[in-house]
Symmetry: C2
Subunit: 155 residues, 2 copies
């Protein structure tokens, strides 16, 4: 339960609500080299790192994947695309080091939210906040490219 | 009320909930050249286009703003950073054509959500879904730059 409470998605949930979440959370071992998410595929599961390392990436060309992030801290999560329509993973994730993940099925979480909209409201607000942070970071990366283009245009 | 229902944020709300939203919505005229949001400033208001045109942009350098989007369709909205912490606009918005905006104060919406968590849950899920779409689009723009770099490296 302490691990769930350290995940940004569940920030601000009461002990009672965290306890309810643990009832739909399952532990799953992961092995080095294993793909746990594939970009473009149906997103049915949310993953929270308990142990191990997971790399997130997105395909640029057939032989080139752009690395997005490395999850290695307990409580970090991925697979949040499972929480919103169209429920399709936007990234791929490969295990880089044996470990254990906490897994929550989207269907189970959906049921919990239908029974407790305050829980849903808190999780969705945390998710929206996180997505906005990622969006700003990605825009900042884009700006670096534009600055480089501007500089080369000035020379 | 029909205009509110055409905004992606309020998709899926019942007539009753849309009616409640109209009680906290105010119409405000906007004039060409007027700035309605400034990047980095406190985000207290959500804007929905009724009439007119608004350009969204982000600063790259002091003399260069990167255009992000042009809002000209009734029901399009901006200022969603007001809905999540740290409540700080991530973009600037300038009116390009006289018109009218619907404005919702963050404080008023927050109170409504505290009274009705299902309403909050629906709005926050719509927001998270929209942010994920923008994030994917921005990543796609970044990929175009990487592809260009890859091509020039191959030559």
């Amino acid at each position: 339960m302490q691990l769930l409470s350290s995940c940004y998605l569940f920030k601000g949930l009461s002990e009672f609500r965290l306890q309810r979440l643990t009832t739909i959370t399952k532990e799953t071992p992961i092995q080095k080299g294993q793909w746990i998410m594939l970009e473009g595929k149906k997103a049915e599961e949310l993953f929270i790192v308990k142990e191990g390392t997971v790399e997130l990436m997105t395909k640029v060309e057939d032989d080139f994947e752009l690395p997005i992030a490395m999850l290695r801290n307990p409580g970090e999560c991925t697979g949040t695309a499972s929480l919103v329509a169209p429920h399709e993973y936007s990234l791929s994730a490969r295990c880089e080091e044996d470990g254990t993940m906490l897994v929550i099925q989207q269907e189970d979480l959906k049921k919990l939210i239908q029974e407790d909209h305050k829980l849903g409201c808190i999780i969705m607000e945390n998710l929206a906040q996180h997505m906005l942070e990622r969006l700003k970071e990605t825009r900042d990366e884009l700006k670096i490219h534009f600055k480089t283009l501007l500089k080369s245009a000035h020379h």
